[in-house]
Symmetry: C2
Subunit: 338 residues, 2 copies
């Protein structure tokens, strides 16, 4: 098969690799229907994170089951399946508590920007779509593999509920999905923080009621202005820098909650924006498996279309260009097809 | 009247001051029935916080209304009342959101370790006990002024609910009240972290099912041992040091929550114990007024007896000894009577 391998900064190659094989009875092999590039993949692409050796890359996929190990019971050859960015057994106490990302038996992938993918813990990870979903739904199903469930986790972590006033920091695919999640959870007002007209447009179509273009202290001040001086009940932090975490904490009302899912580039949290204002902070890597059944249902029903975050589609062999387009902000998120 | 005034480290004096008077139509003057010394008062007593000039001290009280301003409608002369450690209007949007400590019109006190106390925002702060409560209930009513509501806030912030497994870091009066709050909220298992036999005994009487004497990494490891390697659903942080916050975060299960009420001696929170484990942190100064009606009812019904945290009672004139006893850990908490 062919697959993407990152060699170092700005060096992603599409090259031949050995086909993955079943190694454990709980494995499945999935033939990719669509994959994509994650904002977090750009860390290594930009040289922020090290690439000690050439490494297969990618952790988002939708595909068709090609083969299953003998212990796999819930998906069958031919099923169209989606799984989260980490695998999980979905049976241990951690998974039963709804935190499948932290499953002690969980694993990553040996690259999902590939024609074939080995999925460990197949029963605990994959969810099959019933029947044969329309091709038009593929981007939205693919979005469930990470960004839509991550935006959902931000909203759940921030306690978004019917009537909430929400502010969303970050207008990447995750932030946009956070807007959509907030709408689905019944938020009354959703303030998207974005300075890019194309992303503002997606945010509006996902349910944003207000757009704030300012950032940092000015952005937080604008959220206070829009909320009668109070701040938002719930703030979704979808970036992960010190500045964005600070902006999120400052945008919350006293007693409010920040749901953070932006992979943190920050070692320590500035507590002066938390304790004295009774502002909380909760979140982390999204337990995709906990949300997948619900959100797949919403996609298949046509209630949500998170696939709108893909504004560029390329063949998998052009994966290098997919990275370049996102790195240079020519695309919000790139979908790849074999 | 006579009142306690702090002059500097280890220098609290009981001296004559002018009687407080009604200054605003929303004020009340309360004649103290009981007051007490707070762990946070010890900051200045120990020289950790500055005392730039002689300052009246104390913020916990139960008393009888002596006089009210013309706008006060909910309490009357002769009522036995309790109020929280900050006043609040209890009508603004912040108060309506249940965060009365953060009321923009809130105030502190000009010293409550005093024979008479001026209470601003009387209607939004004071709650009157119906009838004439038995003298034996006074310590428990007094505990509502801060420590019991603060322990309750820790438990609420940590999301303690029926069936929760809870760990409580800190065995001062607040931590002990956190144990009691967890029991009242239906926790199934309550692990008190304490190395003092007298405090362990109070914790057990308040509902602790387990006691852990280890601290720091060892303490957190012991909580994991006791919870099948998972960690606690909810952890109450009732100290406020870097070590105790870290211990609390480490004691939570993946997806768990730390409720923090220990006034933080920490500027930054070590995030490595939060994001990747999906552990949240929420809390701050307790909105006493939000909890007062409920908890006063539980005291009057005899359901809870938070007054057990007082293990020393002294006349107000011996306030210096009250501080010394707590500073030297001869007392958990000292009650003062005029």
């Amino acid at each position: 098969m062919y697959a993407a391998v990152i060699y170092g900064p700005h060096d992603v190659r599409y090259e031949q690799r050995a086909d993955p094989v079943i190694q454990a009875p709980t494995d499945a092999i999935v033939r990719t229907v669509a994959a994509c590039v994650c904002g977090s993949d750009l860390w290594r692409y930009r040289g922020i994170a090290d690439v000690p050796e050439p490494t297969p890359i990618g952790h988002e996929y939708v595909g068709v089951v090609e083969e299953v190990g003998r212990a796999v019971a819930t998906v069958r050859v031919g099923d169209l399946v989606v799984g989260g960015f980490r695998t999980s057994d979905n049976t241990c106490a951690v998974c039963r508590a709804g935190m499948q990302t932290n499953c002690p038996h969980g694993t990553g992938y040996d690259g999902c920007q590939a024609e074939l993918i080995r999925v460990q813990n197949a029963d605990g990870t994959l969810v099959a779509a019933p029947g044969t979903p329309d091709d038009a739904l593929i981007p939205s199903i693919l979005a469930l593999s990470d960004v839509m469930c991550t935006g959902w986790h931000a909203a759940i972590s921030a306690g978004v509920t019917r009537g909430s006033t929400v502010a969303v920091v970050g207008d990447g695919a995750v932030g946009l999905c956070g807007v959509l999640a907030s709408r689905e959870l019944g938020a009354q007002r959703i303030i998207a923080m974005s300075r890019h007209p194309d992303r503002q447009a997606v945010a509006r179509s996902f349910g944003a009621t207000d757009v704030v273009v300012e950032r940092g202290d000015e952005g937080a001040a604008r959220v206070l202005d829009l909320t009668g001086g109070l701040g938002a009940d719930a703030v979704l932090e979808c970036v992960g820098t010190v500045d964005s975490v600070t902006q999120a904490l400052q945008s919350a009302r006293a007693g409010g909650m920040v749901g953070w899912v932006g992979v943190p580039h920050v070692r320590e949290i500035p507590q002066q924006h938390m304790f004295w204002r009774n502002v909380g902070l909760r979140g982390g890597p999204a337990p995709v498996r906990a949300y997948l059944d619900d959100l797949l249902g919403r996609v298949l029903d046509g209630r949500i279309e998170p696939g709108k975050v893909f504004d560029l589609t390329l063949p998998l062999r052009d994966v290098a260009e997919a990275y370049a387009a996102m790195d240079e902000r020519r695309a919000i998120k790139t979908l790849l097809t074999p």
